[in-house]
């Protein structure tokens, strides 16, 4: 259960939440249900869709008849809400989760088609607790458990009380780390919080965003000058899209906080939907420092990470960005990264740069293109306007590729890629000397093999802390 002493970072901070008792009903075998209020949450969450549906389908009638049609619309909305509630009641009744005797996490679910799933906790990648907006009204949370695997490797449990959700998360993490089942919720120490102002400024100052906004200003000046108001439509596009992106990301990453716990780094963020994400050390597949041009004056960087299993939705296609931190001064970012990749030393890397003839292939960024490695990691850097520095531990290299396009071939260049699990980070050493690229690739395959033999980071709690 959640500790009342510790300040609750995500919680019923809307102040509207109904009081819900911490009640996970369980049967005699220790199998557990989600919270009984779940169907009602689903029903309430369906109301906006119901209203939109009523609006679209009865829109014309509404305008003509008035109060009668309004009542009809209300009826439609209520019926939709009840249908959803009824369906999710059935789903709730059939949803059971428990830890079996082998230490695996088991989930039985399904109304029409029954599903039985067994998650091997030894392959756990991440456990997230999130509070979608409507769940927050009821002080409820959802728990997402990710294990490594190619297929459908995530389970989402909806909804538990926040306390139950946290308790489940710490139990899953404790079991996965090889500790006993009653390790209790791990204590955590705050490391860094992103100030709201920095977040807003940094989002506005990203290269593409800033470029588009500048373009919008230019278009506006022209439009105003020559009074050709056709430019307004273009402005809506060049100005509207970046502003939309900025606002969306601002809401998503609002109040980004990182704290450290024995389970790993714990990230909390979100305005409308608060999310908690735990990044266990040793589960990070690759990281990238991103440094847009305009951020350099403040020395800011963004850190993106690949975590196996996280960048996938049910269909397997999603490429949602996973961040370690949306914006932070470089030292803070490096410190964070060193907590998930212990022993990382970026200063003493020996960079092998792309040859000068690469300027004919990449006239802007050729000076930045380089690859480096040491005993534990492979690093690549690229990008002149937005600088990118990607790092991948040898033990996380899935495969290595060498590619060569026609233009590269004419210049005797080739690019080397180290493949990681799906995620935003790509480790690519572009436009190196062809023979050198191949030798780096062969060596990287060998380093990956050796590193895997000695890698113990997956059972981090047992490997002597």
């Amino acid at each position: 259960m959640s500790d009342p002493q510790r300040p609750s970072a995500i919680g019923d901070d809307l102040g509207l939440g109904a009081f819900v008792p911490p009640d996970a009903t369980s049967d005699e075998q220790g199998r557990r249900h989600a919270h009984p209020v779940t169907p009602i949450v689903h029903g309430v969450a369906a109301l906006p869709f119901g209203i939109a549906f009523a609006f679209v389908s009865l829109g014309g009638v509404l305008a003509s008849i008035g109060i009668g049609a309004f009542l009809g619309a209300v009826l439609v909305v209520v019926i939709i809400g009840l249908l959803v509630t009824g369906w999710s009641y059935l789903a709730w009744r059939n949803l059971w989760y428990w830890f079996d005797d082998d230490g695996d996490f088991r989930v039985d679910s399904g109304v029409v088609t029954r599903r039985q799933r067994r998650l091997q906790l030894s392959r756990l990648q991440a456990v997230d607790v999130a509070q979608p907006l409507f769940a927050r009204l009821f002080a409820m949370a959802e728990v997402t458990i990710e294990v490594a695997g190619t297929g459908d490797s995530r389970v989402r449990l909806r909804y538990l009380t926040l306390g139950d959700a946290r308790a489940l998360r710490s139990e899953v993490l404790a079991r996965a780390a090889g500790l006993g089942e009653e390790a209790g919720e791990a204590p955590e120490a705050p490391i860094v919080q992103v100030p709201h102002r920095d977040l807003a400024v940094s989002l506005l100052a990203r290269s593409v965003t800033a470029g588009l906004l500048l373009l919008t200003v230019v278009i506006f000046l022209f439009t105003w000058r020559i009074e050709g108001w056709g430019g307004l439509g273009v402005m809506a596009l060049t100005g509207g899209i970046p502003i939309l992106v900025v606002v969306t990301e601002f809401i998503r990453y609002f109040g980004f906080r990182v704290s450290e716990s024995p389970d790993g780094l714990r990230l909390r963020f979100g305005l409308a939907r608060t999310e908690t994400r735990t990044v266990p050390p040793g589960r990070v597949q690759a990281i990238e420092f991103v440094e847009p041009l305009l951020w350099r004056r403040w020395g800011w960087v963004r850190v993106r990470v690949n975590i196996a299993g996280v960048n996938r939705d049910e269909s397997g296609g999603s490429r949602q960005e996973t961040l370690l931190i949306p914006v932070a001064p470089r030292e803070v970012a490096v410190d964070l990264v060193q907590r998930v990749l212990p022993g990382l030393d970026l200063e003493s890397l020996q960079w092998h740069e792309a040859p000068p003839r690469a300027r004919w292939r990449a006239p802007v960024q050729w000076r930045r293109l380089a690859v480096a490695w040491d005993g534990t990691i492979l690093a690549s850097r690229r990008g002149r306007i937005t600088r990118r520095l990607a790092v991948m531990p040898h033990a996380r290299t899935q495969s290595v590729r060498v590619t060569q396009g026609p233009w590269e071939r004419a210049l005797d260049l080739a690019s080397m890629h180290a493949d990681s699990t799906p995620g935003p980070v790509r480790v690519a050493a572009l436009h190196l000397d062809a023979v050198f690229a191949r030798s780096v690739a062969d060596d990287q395959a060998a380093r990956a093999r050796l590193a895997r033999g000695t890698d113990t980071s997956t059972r981090w709690a047992q490997s002597g802390e």
Binding site: S122, Q398, V400, V402, H417, A445
Partner: protein, 164 residues
Amino acid sequence: MAADIAFTCAEGWTPVSSRLSTARRITLLLVYVLVAGGVVILLLVPEVPAWVSAVVAAAAVISFVWLWWLIGRRVRSFGYAERDDDLLVTSGILFRRLVIVPYGRMQLVDVKAGPIDRRLGITTVQLHTAAATTDAAIPGLTPQDAVALRDRLARRGEQRSTGL
């Protein structure tokens, strides 16, 4: 050419069956039957000037011949090599690539064949790792070779398997 050294393999590449060219050329023919239909319609519509139809027809013929020839070269460019600790796959003429997959990183090995492939007796072996970007498919193997390769890969993968 010096650039080729980067895409060689000391152990030598195992080529794939030339029947893969036949399979791909059949697919090409099927596509160009549709293209030919489009050209015929163009010729029959009186509003279209004759020279436009002629240019389109010529473009279709030239691209067909070029692709026909390219398929042969592309198929010859495929090769794989089983080394002690990893599998190498190479392919491509304009855009060349070479993939190194350590055996311990393979998560599953697919053997698959479409209807045309089955008629011609060829099969594709596809390797998957935890990375979606690993693009290691070996098309144009005989079914016996494919199954044998899959079993060898699976055995080596098991011996060298580690977590993620």
